[in-house]
Assembly symmetry: C2
Homo-oligomer: 123 residues x 2
């Protein structure tokens, strides 16, 4: 598929798709006329990338996490250096921290909203 379709299907500006490619987050073939040509799986990949960006991870890190998200993953195993393992472990821990932080604040906001609603109903 060409970039326009990928854009609408992922609700992502064309500009960003090119940017993600520039950052090595997605890949594309080229048609004879130079147009980018994407495979079907790229749709999911883009959504994954956007999710991670939205959650606060930088492209640099996302690039390293991406191999973990492939199925079958056996293909990518031989390329893993101890260095990369360390990076991934670190990122995994950071993600855990973020989950904890978000969960805590999510609860706080929820509780607050509940209290507000009770307050309104009481008045």
């Amino acid at each position: 598929m060409r970039i326009g379709e990928l854009s609408t299907r992922t609700r992502t500006p064309v500009r960003l798709l090119r940017y993600y490619e520039e950052q090595g987050l997605i890949a594309s073939d080229r048609l004879p006329n130079g147009y980018r040509d994407y495979e079907e799986y790229v749709v999911d990949r883009v959504l994954q990338v956007r999710g991670l960006l939205d959650v606060g991870l930088p492209t640099r890190i996302i690039k390293q996490i991406l191999p973990c998200l492939n199925t079958p993953r056996t293909i990518h195993m031989p390329y893993v250096t101890p260095d990369m393992v360390a990076t991934l472990e670190h990122e995994r821990d950071r993600m855990a921290e973020k989950i904890e932080c978000l969960t805590k604040n999510h609860r706080a906001v929820t509780d607050y909203l509940d209290a507000v609603r009770r307050d309104i109903r009481a008045s």
Copy 2:
């Protein structure tokens, strides 16, 4: 306490503390000589702010969420407009999405690392 102590206790550059204040995320009194003077609770507040920033929320949003994190919260109730409630509900939902996304990817990375370790031990 003065800004230096707050900085070391929160492991946050002085520059950022001033920035957070400029953005309305923390408050300070002033000593007669113009130095900022922080109350004890600001330490937690800064950590909260940093956590939320790290998780991808912009200061603009954090500012709106902060009232939810106060105890006792009754003091802040009267000021809540329906508009703010809507914003908070929206942010709460976005946080839930982020938690889900992070959890999914955290699991993926974890599984991947497990697989890698199995692979190494087998070789």
